[in-house]
Symmetry: C2
Subunit: 198 residues, 2 copies
Amino acid sequence: MLREANKKKTKELIMKNAIQLFKQKGYQNVTVAEITTACGIAKGTFFNYFQKKEHILLYLADSYMELLHKIVQRNQVGTMKEQVLHIFRELFSIYFKQIDILHPAFEETIKSAIRSNGASGNISKLREAICYVLEQGMEKKAFRSKWKVAECADVIVGIFLNVLICTPLEEEKLMKKLAQQLEMVWGGFIHESTKEIS
Amino acid sequence: MLREANKKKTKELIMKNAIQLFKQKGYQNVTVAEITTACGIAKGTFFNYFQKKEHILLYLADSYMELLHKIVQRNQVGTMKEQVLHIFRELFSIYFKQIDILHPAFEETIKSAIRSNGASGNISKLREAICYVLEQGMEKKAFRSKWKVAECADVIVGIFLNVLICTPLEEEKLMKKLAQQLEMVWGGFIHESTKEIS
DNA sequence: GTCAAATAATGACTTAGGTCATTTTGGTGG
DNA sequence: CCACCAAAATGACCTAAGTCATTATTTGAC
């Protein structure tokens, strides 16, 4: 099937040139026409491969999220907290290497999550990865909780989103915040001696 | 100052007509030209008041967030958890009344938070409101925690964001999820009998 | 009231994303 | 090798956001 091969080649060609241009000029300053010219194809062809200009970012983010499986598999030592943190650390190290591209990609990822209500896309992949890690932990008796793993994963994803959305993008700061907030939810807010009053 | 008054009137005129059109046809299907025609002004005038079409959504979300102060003040009974939940319930009841408008507005709110790294905008207002509530609680000894209130507020905002981003938009489901996740972070993930192993 | 400076309104114009009818190309059967 | 069909490429075209030089309005000073 020559056709299939060509399609794959063209898609990769578009991705390659697009990423290069995004790195040079920033996502917002690159037009679809520029990308296609760089590829030596017609503008319309771009839209045979990506419905919207932004979809190229989702596709990119997707390809990085594929790495999650490897990250999760490779990393099965330490406490649950450490394992979760490790996943985030690995994600960030990818993120920060290409921050000029992945920052707009993050925006698109969230937009897409909102539109699908988190039912699909990268954020749900992240949630699933965390679920998997926690489940492994429960099986190995390294983690026990009165809550379902899916519910714990939800809270952890929330922490991740909030930190990414609301923290200046410096790797160390992000990791510190994440580590602390994980610590907080692991042990809970309430100080032992507290008595809630009505 | 006639000039000031006119500006205010024009801005309100634009908002009023824009909201009405958004309700009728949905944000995406309303053009700036339509809005200005409805207002009886020139298209260019719109951009004297809002830098981009989307900014009208931010302004709208902003005006709703102003209500936070009232909500927080009016509601100083119950446990901290209940008070926080109450804030969310009030926000949602506003949100759901105008969901077709506020959904795109929420997207813009997040985008803007990402760009300012959470330093300004509606999400930081929400965080501050929660901080305020928790601080009140600490003063009244209704809430004690080994964590700083700002850190607790961060986690709570994370829960809020994740739930709004990733849950199908039904008021009851959202509130249930929020209530549960607040419960979780209040008490912590870990079951007493758990021992973390290395 | 008149004039000049500051501010606001205007709409023709530019730009870029996205569409689609048409053309070209790859694949298949005779 | 040709004929034919399905799928992919094409680029003229359309639409809508956003710009900006020009025009109109408000204001304050005299």
